[in-house]
């Protein structure tokens, strides 16, 4: 379970000061598909980077199963990170490694890993994402959707509790997006992995999310069940996203 408490993130590079997130609190329960939606520049990626400990909160806390992520370092931090899988918008695959090697990468970080077990797990993951026949291909030979599938397989390798996805479909065409969302839903249902999905597309949230948080200018505009929030928007930002601007 992820518990975000009064998270504020300020970027201060000398002259300019950007408040990317301001007093954001929300909770992602185990097993749900949670969406975070907002316009470009709203602070969505910053939120995800705080969750994956690529950024430290300026104030406030991010708790993973009750543990304050910012307080961890060394082995404890690496351990916590392996409980979260991250899927990036730009895939971030190793371009000089095959698909199978990319998926095996997180597994081979462990000391004294079992070669046979890794090979089996990689096969299993590639079948799960529908890329069993691409094991020895290189990322440059794949389409965007296929690359994102590799990234998802890689993120799932360590059997994380939660999958953090930053705009996983915004570089994909509508048909590929649909297949990608179906895959994520499948992963949630079959493996019970919690999914946090960040997006600026309403359709993505409507398609697979149970609950949604709307974020605008670094602040939380509203949170709730998707059906509730979209049929009965409480904030101006939600109405704007729905295209029902006053």
């Amino acid at each position: 379970m992820i518990d975000i408490q009064n998270l504020t993130k300020v970027f201060n590079d000398g002259s300019s000061r950007v408040v990317a997130l301001e007093d954001v609190s929300l909770r992602v329960e185990n097993g749900e598909v949670f969406g975070i939606i907002g316009m470009s520049g709203a602070g969505k990626s910053t939120l995800l980077r705080c969750l994956s400990v690529l950024e430290k909160p300026t104030t406030g806390r991010v708790l993973l199963d009750g543990e304050d992520l910012a307080a961890l370092s060394g082995g404890a931090l690496r351990c916590a990170r392996r409980k979260m899988g991250v899927v990036f918008q730009g895939y971030n695959l190793l371009m000089q490694k095959t698909v199978a090697e990319n998926v095996a990468f997180p597994l081979k970080l462990e000391k004294g890993y079992d070669k046979q077990a890794v090979a089996t797990r990689v096969q299993e993951l590639l079948s799960l994402v529908g890329l069993a026949d691409k094991a020895s291909a290189y990322p440059a030979q794949l389409s965007g959707g296929q690359k994102q599938r590799v990234a998802i397989a890689r993120a799932l390798a360590t059997r994380p509790e939660i999958l953090l996805c930053d705009e996983p479909t915004s570089a994909l065409d509508p048909l590929t997006t649909k297949a990608m969302l179906a895959l994520l839903q499948d992963i949630n249902r079959k493996l019970g992995v919690t999914i946090l999905i960040i997006t600026h597309e309403l359709a993505v949230v409507k398609a697979i999310c149970g609950r949604v948080a709307v974020i605008s200018d670094g602040r939380l505009a509203e949170t709730g069940e998707v059906t509730q929030v979209f049929t009965n928007p409480a904030s101006a930002e939600t109405r704007r996203l729905l295209g029902r601007e006053e």
């Binding site: 351990c79 990036f88 971030n92 000089q96 095959t98 970080l109």
Partner: protein
Amino acid sequence: MAQFFSQYGALLAEGVWESVYMTLATTAMAYVLGLPMGVLLTVTKRGGIAAAPRFHAVFGWIINILRSLPFLILMIFVIPFTRLLLGTSIGLNAALVPLTISASPFIARMVEQSLEEIDSGVVEAAECMGATRWQIVTRVLLVESVPSLLRGLSISIITILGYTAITGAFGAGGLGNLAYRFGYQRYQKDVMYACIVLLILLVCAIQIIFDLSARRADKRNR
């Protein structure tokens, strides 16, 4: 022509061998020093995986100072050190000392440049998977940059070959030494021209071999 080769062939062959020996030995030693230096420069940068901006600035300055010394001056400057190390300051092996000292900082910058080309997102992905800094260096940085490192290696070898010509003029042997002795001291232009042709052939061979291997190593273009 036949007469020229029967007279000077052995000498030229020896010159080629000496040049190649100095170049390869220097390259190997300079990479032993320069590769870790380049990695250190990259990881200590602001926002790097072992950010230490002050250390980075000081280290960068030291490398810049070493690089700004003309090779000829450095070579004379390190003579006492060479003597201390090898007991002599002349000959093939003695030349390796200034050559290595001069090439290492150059290689450090080449390596840094190669590592810089890697998308920071890939490094962040590895961090998110729980990789240690050492694992990031050995499994991401040095792996993703292989094609670029190979291209840097070819530039380094050619540059070092150029340096060996200077040590050659100072009696260290090699094609530079031949060209200097025959072309400059004895006005025997034919030997000098032969040396120049051989040097050009060497450079071309190095360039072709490494361009090819860099292209074959790069999995991004297929």
